[in-house]
Symmetry: C2
């Protein structure tokens, strides 16, 4: 074994048993929690035509890892995201399925480039989409399902950070018209840049910068700021969404944060876990384009649990459940041990022995013996 370690491309890696098995456990727990809420698992392909993966989104198209398919002679790309694929399934193969349509998924996605915070270009994405509604009831369900999934996977003490993606549009079309370009206004708010707001002549929006932080306080600030009640239905909706999860997660509100998403409709959220600066998940309401200027409303969320798995989520110390089977062991007894949840490691030669093969037990004439 003199060969130098084979190298992998930047951002791609092997998972060894501890991590691969943890990833498998976490994925199972997340998917099972979603399935328990009636979300049916779908599995779109790893690659598709570039157009169906990016749509008209030029930025999304640039972030695709593309290649020419020698068979179709067309440009394909590896999927950078499964949500859009699920939207495609919902509005094509499952166009006639009853709504609301509940779907979930788990799989690997591949990005063209890593980010500084996340060096991985291939990562696990697990999520759920509720298609056919982006009502308050739908939003409340999807956020609750997210919390159930986090719980099931052992991801405790999450923070849900809500946002209101259309808050600027509601205010600028209503009580607080602005001369400035709305996109510049959104940028200034997203950047929490008070100076920019003043330069844009949007001083009236300054209180929004402060209406952020712990959910109840930020919501009270927003209600005080929203004298005309323009945001009342949005704020009522957030309270309704928050109600069933108040005891299960820390809640924050950052109404003008865009979370890096352009496509959310009226509410969005990010999921944070202590010790991880980057969000490990995000979700919200959105619209799936149907062509001819039609679209279908949906809510959903995606989790990217890799950093948590690297930190030990889903890990199991199974040394004491690994049992060594000496040469000439009773095969039926070994099978019954496996049926009871033991992992059996059989000797192939006299040289094999329990300790070297990571076994805490060995099968003796009268049953398992600790080694």
């Amino acid at each position: 074994m003199t060969k130098a370690p084979a190298l992998l491309p930047e951002g791609l890696r092997d998972r060894l048993p501890r991590q691969a098995e943890a990833a498998s456990r976490v994925t199972r727990a997340l998917v099972d929690a979603m399935r328990a809420h009636g979300y049916g698992r779908v599995a779109p392909p790893l690659a598709e035509f570039r157009e169906t993966l990016s749509g008209d989104d030029a930025r999304a198209a640039r972030d695709l890892l593309r290649f020419t398919d020698p068979v179709s002679q067309r440009t394909l790309a590896l999927r950078p995201d499964i949500t859009r694929q699920v939207g495609r399934i919902a509005t094509s193969l499952l166009a006639a399925a009853p709504r609301p349509l509940r779907l979930c998924y788990a799989g690997q996605v591949v990005k063209l480039r890593a980010s500084q915070l996340r060096p991985a270009r291939e990562m696990l994405q697990v999520g759920a989409e509720l298609i056919g509604s982006d009502s308050v009831a739908a939003a409340r369900e999807i956020v609750s399902v997210a919390i159930d999934a986090l719980d099931a996977a052992g991801i405790g003490s999450a923070t849900i950070d809500f946002t209101l993606p259309d808050v600027v549009d509601l205010l600028a079309s209503g009580p607080l018209p602005v001369a400035a370009d709305r996109e510049n206004l959104r940028d200034a708010l997203d950047a929490k840049d008070a100076g920019a707001l003043v330069r844009l002549g949007a001083q009236a929006y300054l209180p929004l910068l402060r209406a952020t932080g712990p959910f109840d306080r930020a919501l009270a600030d927003l209600r005080a700021f929203d004298r005309e009640g323009t945001l009342a239905s949005r704020l009522d909706a957030l309270e309704a969404i928050a109600a069933p999860i108040r005891q299960r997660a820390a809640l924050t509100l950052d109404p003008t944060e865009r979370h890096g998403f352009a496509y959310q409709s009226w509410f969005g959220f990010q999921i944070f876990v202590p010790g991880h600066g980057d969000a490990i998940g995000r979700g919200g309401g959105y619209a799936i384009p149907l062509g001819e200027e039609q679209e279908e409303p949906a809510v959903g969320f995606s989790l990217y649990p890799d950093p948590l798995i690297d930190d030990g989520l889903g890990a199991a110390n199974e040394a004491e459940r690994r049992i060594f089977l000496p040469l000439g062991h009773d095969a039926a007894l070994a099978a019954s041990l496996r049926a009871d949840g033991w992992r059996t490691i059989a000797a192939l030669t006299e040289a094999d022995e329990a300790g070297r093969l990571g076994c805490g037990w060995s099968l003796g004439p009268d049953g398992p013996v600790a080694v």
Copy 2:
């Protein structure tokens, strides 16, 4: 919803819930069976440098779906097979891990082109590799693990078709020298072409063409043919491998069949399932190159269960376990139903109703009610 169904590239497809959940169940059962035998799951990346995926094998290189990675400026390819990746892991990251090293895996692989028999270009591959030995004991274990995995996944009545990849070399270097090129001889035997054997002056090999079929009869034919005992150790080994699985699978022997594999060492096998002409799995002994003309012996097998899943393997009729939760239902009761294995489908509006949402049950004031 007037949009025409979005099209996917040839050979790539979406799995809808029935199939995706079946695939998930089958994968879990297969992997759990392998893990129970001490095989640790690894998860290599979806793409790698072309060279590490194909090695020096020109045919393998041609079958890769390649692309240029803008980050590394090198040619990557989607993995067409996970076995080779596991060999790379075993001899790099896990080079210092104790031998025998038992690893397993499950994941999607992508082929450049579909075959006529298998139109899919993306498929599920699940397998196990025992690295550090290709002894008879190792071979016997890997075949038994394959049978256990098939059983666990509900794949009954499999046929294991054994082959002896080096039988021509053993005979041609020993009692039956041939003037003809050995590769031509192998081709003629693989094609069961008696005429070609005669043309090659290899009439002595004709009995090999008949020593094929049910295991015991073919083995007896081979022993009768092998007067000098050149193949005795191979035939004894096959009997030892077959012994523990005789009651669990149909066994056949086709000593000169190559199963489309070039890299097997001394034994190989294919797994057939009634109703599927193509093999659904294959395995055998092989050598992992270590550089400097060194190599490490290994045995392993891979399963490709997609055709079985399409045929209903792993499917569950869960309609009667789907329960509709009317508006205003008791959330704690719903959670306890989920904990008991029910899939709950919550009403979002008054318009939602059990039947349309595929529920065989509805939650009434006193508990589940059949609908």
